[in-house]
Structure formats: structure tokens, C-alpha cells
Symmetry: C2
Subunit: 344 residues, 2 copies
DNA sequence: AATTAGCACTCGCGGGGTGAGAGTGCTAAC
DNA sequence: GTTAGCACTCTCACCCCGCGAGTGCTAATT
């Protein structure tokens, strides 16, 4: 347990280091926060904080920098995240008002807004249902031997796939097949459709097979489409100024690794995993080496009919936790509101 | 006009510089290419090449580096791009065989293959029709007051948008409206539909309006979805080792600027613009400052019914033009073949 | 017991000097 | 036209050094 004064001091050090990205000196904190004690006293206190592992010094004659343990203490006990100012809330709500109805657009927009407000990388996954229900299916003739299968699933998710036909089929014939299959299967889940065990003739069988495959591969995804924004701004942070640091970050968050990064963040983040709750994973708390320089603030969100997604922000460990947590929490709330309003 | 020997020398210098990324010295070229003359002779010839602007030296005591004019001469007269080896062709064809029928997938795959083979950034736009034709339209009930409009356009392009309803409509009612509109408009272009000047009641009118808007905004795009790959590998090239160079490149090719970068490349590239032809734009030939360190190799491709797209590779001016041009040409051919096979 | 002034000590950083190495241009001979 | 030889130029890596920043310790003060 820390004394009152040492807590205070740790808070100052974190705030100051987040602001300046420079190790903070004893004299700097007495000056900036107009403390009624001398720098020598602060030095003594700093030595104690260092003994207990909350701060470290990069080298002998430098100021102090918070350790991951220090950040953790700060996040847990020191910071007081508060709601974004009303003006900003209104601006954000207005932006969402434009993108009515497209769940993927919401996620994309949420990522863009977070990135713009925080200058860190944000990753938002679109809402995704654990079990999907077929709303309707359509077959469209593209060419004599090629047809397009369009599936509309629960909650405006549209999937498509081309089918190569054994024999030419007209649009009318295709429509007939689609109508028949719709009458059988509309409103049902994969499991229900399988359970029905219907017999189908050649092309119908092919269609049903393709549709079930599509639905299953969709369900296999544990999240919807992921949107990443703000990489460029984050590269401007001083910790990534060197080329190699930058590369490491690109490797971590590059387009192709995104698929891997998400589940990782999630795996670490879903200890409480209750929708609406915000979790922070700080530096060395990450299981993967590559992320030990970064912190992640993550919040799952949920909506009606099992819709789930996650909002997360990745930044340097020296991030503004207070602002980040409050923005993530706020955006998570927005997503839940939207889902409720449209599908509730 | 260059003498035979100076041409040869220029070729060596380009080849060697592309390989090593180091200024090439007179002695280096006699050694590596076992020339029957001394380095002093080469120095004399180099001095002439420099007078005429084909090569430059970064500083007095360094070797020579090709200028943009030198690269241009090389591309125009010196290199002999040849088809990729049969084994590679087969591998690539095999990869495309997997992704049957999805035009966006083809484009994505083409970008990935180019990036992997060349280690430069590749940008491929999916095929896109100048004028689109409605194949069919479907309305799906999401919720009492929310419906989903799904448009299938010519060549497997699927668009969707949610509609907010004035009054609740059942799935059956929606299906009725869709059937009616399909019977009127299926197979027609935006212009044709507008010309028909049909009168519609409230919800039908809303649907038609939304559909036409979607189709028009689609037609307004001059290209389909763009896929960018290989950024990470290109960042490893020595010209981008410093942090600021890297940032500049990210700014140029970052996800958000992609929309802008494409038309730029295209605008510069469509002088001949005949499908299948390959154009190179080298360094300072770019109108925009930001690209003066880069070269672009670009080839439009075309298919039946006005489908168009472009394949391009962005690399440092010190790129392997021969390999790049041949790969771009080859991929362009592959795309045309695929389009013919599926929509011809 | 806590605080503080004073001071010696440590360390990183930037500037200037330097020597080696690379590569050229020129000159004179072939 | 070619080439050996050589002086010249320029970069780069290295080291040294002094400055400034900041600390830890000690002894005096409250």
C-alpha cells in the first residue's frame, strides 16, 4: 500500500510522462505542480517508489518513468475517467446519425472517431451473431452456366457466392428454386436446416450445400469484420520514431496480421468480458512479446439476439489511460444503443 | 543517342544498383561483368554518361547512381522483360483456380501475388463496369420498421442498404413490392429506368429512389474496390529505413489515402490506357511531389461488357523494372482471361 | 523523525577532430 | 582510344571531451 503522498506523486509522474514523453525529474514535478516541499524530499519519495517497483529510471542521471506496475496502479486507483464533454458527445452522435442502419459502417465509424480523438490505433469489430438465422435467399442468373447465390442473414448481413451450373438454367427457373427453398428454410438456423434432412434434386442440393457452408463459415468467425484506424497518427508518437520500432508496430498491426491480433487482444481481454466493461492490458501483461511496448484498452459490447463485438484501442504504454478509457466506454455505449434501436 | 558501349554500361549500372542499392563504382563494374577494359576507361565513359544526364553521383568520391532519365532509357531500350517461368505461372494459375467466381477475390489475390513475388506494394482495383444493369432486387424484413434492400447488379456485384419504413410491412408485402419492381426494371440501366418515368406509391417510390441512388453512386466510382498489399515488405527496402521516409510512404499509401492515390496513378498512367499495355512512371515523372521517390508500373485490364480495372505496382525508383513489368503484364493477362471465362 | 541545502558523482548527448577507405579526375605514357 | 599512376575529395565511423541534467548522500535544521 502506498502512502497518500506517494500515490499523489505517482499520479504526477504518470501524468507528466504521458504529456511530455520525457523521464520526469524531481525538480520538474515540484515546479509544475507547485508542491510545498523541496525536490530533495521528492527524490526521497521517488527512491521509495522505485524500490517498490512503481517507477524506474532509464539510466542513473535521468528522471523517472512509470513502470507497467506503476501504470497498473494508476489505472486501478488513481485516474478518474469522466464522460466526454457534452459538445463532443453531440458531435459524435451526429456523425453516427448519418450512417443509419449499416452495422459495418457503425464499426468503421467508431474506429475512425476513436482514432481521431485519441491519436492511437483503434480496432473495432462489427457486431456479429453467434448463431445466424437465414432470412432469405436469392438466385440470380449471371450467365448460362453461372448463377449468383445471395444469402440475407439475420441483422442485415449479406453473403454471396457464385455457383457453376451443370446445365443452363433460366432466371425463371432459378427464381422457382429460390422460392421453394425460401418457403422451406427462411427464418431457420443452420442446425435447424440440417435437422430437417430434406431431400433435394441436383441443383437444389448444390444450392443448399453452398448456403449451409456459407452460414457455417460465418458462424465460425468469432467476430465480424474488423476495422483498424489511426495507424499513421500513432506512428508519430516518439516511441515509434526509429525505423525498426515502426516496423515492429506495422508487423503487429499490419493488415494481414489483423486477423491474428484481434483474437489475441480479445483472449487477454475477456476475463470479465461483460459487455460495457472496460479492461486495460498494460505492456508486459500481454502474453505476446510483440505487444509488450503497447497497452490495449478494450470493451466488448452486446446487443439483442446475441449480437457481439468489441471496441479496442492500442497505444503505447505511455498512453492517456483516462481519456482512452472514457472514450472507449462511451463508444461501447453508443454501439449498444444503436443495436438496441435498430434490432431491439 | 548513346554509343553501343555506353548503353551497355548504363545497363550494368542500373542492374548493379538495383541489386545492391549502393552507388556503383567504375572498378565494381569491370570486376563483376569481367569487362576487357580497365576501370579508367569506364570512368571516362561514366563521365560522359553523367554529362548527358543518365547517371549522377551522390557526392564526389562515390560511385554512380542512375538518374530518372537513366531509368527511363533503361526501361525503353535496354531491358528485355520476359514471361515468368512456367513453374511460377502454374503456381499462380493454381492459386486463382481456388477463388472461382468472386471478382473482388481475384483482385485481392492478384495484389497479394504481385506483392509476394516482387516485394513492392501492389494496388489492384477490382473489375468495374462503367454502366451497370440491374439484375434483380430483393426486400427483406429486418424489423417492423426496418427493411433491407439488396440489389444485384450485372457481374455479381451486390449492394445493400437499410430502409426505414413509415409503417410496418410484413415480409410478404415486401416480397410483393420486390416482385413488382423486378418485373418492371430487371435488366435495365439507371438511364433506362429513369426514362420510364413510372409512378409509384409511397414505399415503392422510396425503394426505387434508394435503388437508383445506389446504382448511380456505384457508377460514379471510376474503379471497383482497391486492394493494396506488400506495404510491409517494401518498408524493408533500404530507401525507407529512416523513420521519416517511412512515414512519407505511409502517408502516400495509407489506407485512408488509397482512394486518392489510385486516381493519381491512373491519371498519370492512362496516356495509352489500352488494356493489356504496361506503362511505367518513373520518379520525377510523377506530377505529385510525394511520389518522386517512387516508380509505378501500371496496366489497365478489360473484360466483356465494359468491365475495367487496373493492376499497378509501386516501388522505389530503384526497382527491378524488368521483373516488375513482366509480372504486371502477366497478371493483367490473367485478369482478362478470368473475366472472359466467367462473363464472356 | 521529517525536511532540506549542499555537493560530489554519474551518465547521456552533441560537437569537433581525425584517420581510413573509397572512388574519382587528370595527366602522361602507350 | 586506352591505361597506369597519383593526387585529391569526400564520407563515415570512431573517439574524445565538456556540458548539462539529475541523482544520492550527508549533515544541518526544524
Amino acid at each position: 500500500m502506498l502512502t497518500e503522498r506517494r500515490e499523489q506523486l505517482l499520479r504526477f509522474i504518470v501524468d507528466e510522462y504521458v504529456r511530455s514523453a520525457q523521464p520526469v525529474a524531481s525538480s520538474a514535478v515540484v515546479q509544475r505542480y507547485a508542491l510545498p516541499v523541496s525536490s530533495a524530499t521528492i527524490r526521497n519519495e521517488m527512491a521509495r517508489l522505485e524500490d517498490e517497483g512503481y517507477i524506474v529510471q532509464p539510466h542513473t542521471s535521468a528522471g523517472r518513468v512509470p513502470s507497467d506496475k506503476g501504470y497498473r496502479y494508476y489505472v486501478e486507483a488513481l485516474m478518474r475517467p469522466q464522460e466526454p464533454p457534452a459538445a463532443i458527445q453531440q458531435t459524435i452522435r451526429h456523425q453516427f446519425h448519418q450512417a443509419a442502419g449499416e452495422t459495418d459502417e457503425w464499426a468503421h465509424l467508431a474506429a475512425a472517431v476513436l482514432a481521431a480523438r485519441l491519436s492511437y490505433v483503434s480496432v473495432v469489430t462489427a457486431p456479429h451473431a453467434a448463431q445466424t438465422r437465414l432470412r432469405s435467399l436469392q438466385l440470380v442468373s449471371v450467365h448460362d452456366f453461372v448463377a449468383l447465390l445471395v444469402l440475407v442473414l439475420q441483422e442485415t448481413l449479406v453473403l454471396q457466392q457464385t455457383l457453376t451450373l451443370d446445365r443452363p438454367l433460366s432466371q425463371a427457373e432459378l427464381a422457382g428454386v429460390a422460392a421453394h427453398l425460401n418457403s422451406l428454410y427462411a427464418g431457420r438456423t443452420v442446425d435447424e436446416i440440417r435437422a430437417m434432412q430434406m431431400e433435394h434434386r441436383s441443383f437444389e442440393a448444390q444450392t443448399v450445400h453452398a448456403a449451409l457452408d456459407l452460414m457455417e463459415s460465418e458462424e465460425a468467425e468469432s467476430f465480424g469484420e474488423a476495422y483498424l484506424e489511426g495507424l499513421r497518427d500513432m506512428l508519430l508518437e516518439p516511441e515509434f520514431a526509429q525505423g525498426d520500432r515502426m516496423l515492429a508496430l506495422m508487423d503487429l498491426l499490419g493488415r494481414s496480421n489483423l486477423d491474428k491480433a484481434i483474437p489475441l487482444a480479445r483472449a487477454a481481454g475477456d476475463q470479465p468480458a461483460r459487455p460495457g466493461e472496460v479492461t486495460a492490458i498494460i505492456g508486459s501483461e500481454h502474453p505476446q512479446d510483440a505487444m509488450q511496448q503497447c497497452s490495449v484498452v478494450i470493451s466488448p459490447y452486446g446487443g439483442p439476439s446475441g449480437l457481439r463485438g468489441a471496441i479496442s484501442v492500442v497505444g503505447p504504454t505511455r498512453m492517456n489511460y483516462s481519456r482512452t478509457v472514457s472514450m472507449v466506454r462511451y463508444m461501447s455505449g453508443i454501439m449498444e444503443e444503436l443495436l438496441d434501436a435498430y434490432f431491439g
